[in-house]
Symmetry: C2
Subunit: 137 residues, 2 copies
């Protein structure tokens, strides 16, 4: 991972011993810990790049940092919402499923027939079947 971070430019090129081994200063280690904690909080590499830049800037504004964090929070919330919608649908289906040897299953039925909304568009536009756009004029 660290070598990867070095390659993509997230951290600066580490020093080397005479034999080619990488040498990390305590500063490097500190930066890596910063990165790890950022990743633990779900920040993307791009965002970490921003955060690191701000971290290294003496006269940064905390508002800038907060903006990155707030944007990330919103992104995470969106993901949670999506996941909870999936969970709700699946819970509903699983609850209506007899959970025995019978072959009729509301879960498969739903997947096959799709009554949960997102699939109202005609097949043609959803899968590009057939010639969609005629030559104009």
């Amino acid at each position: 991972m660290i070598r990867h971070y070095e390659k993509i430019g997230l951290i600066e090129t580490a020093g080397r011993t005479a034999s080619g081994y990488r040498v990390y200063t305590s500063n490097d280690v500190h930066t890596l810990q910063f990165i790890r904690r950022s990743r633990d909080l779900g920040f993307s590499v791009a965002q970490i790049q921003d955060l690191l830049a701000l971290w290294r800037t003496r006269d940064r504004s905390s508002a800038e940092v907060r903006a990155v964090a707030v944007e990330h929070i919103e992104h995470l919330c969106e993901k949670v919402t999506q996941l909870q919608e999936m969970i709700a649908t699946l819970r509903d289906l699983a609850e209506r499923c007899s959970d025995d040897d019978r072959p009729d299953c509301p879960i498969l039925q739903d997947l096959a027939e799709g009554r949960h909304g997102e699939c109202d568009a005609p097949v043609e536009s959803r899968f590009g079947v057939g010639r969609v756009h005629a030559t104009p004029q």
Copy 2:
């Protein structure tokens, strides 16, 4: 995507016209819709493979289908839990952030110093700095 699904064996090889164009039967389209709805619910390709197999099996048991769904629900719940933990931490940090021009920012401070628990292990074992295991005996 569809060509990709064909390549990885999620769907069977589509028929071809004389000139090599793929031809999809309404059955194929139905299967693809099944797949899309499964993906909308967050199922992985591997799980969809299972679901498709069950779908095509006449004397399947709905318990089998339910098992796939329930396992998936648990997986989704885990993800939600993780995301919510991140959100809680970030919300707390953002709240304590002054959101102005001052350079002292609790968010960066936390990322740099890490007081939220997961980082108690010494640097050596977390990043492989130094020789961890001596030759035994």
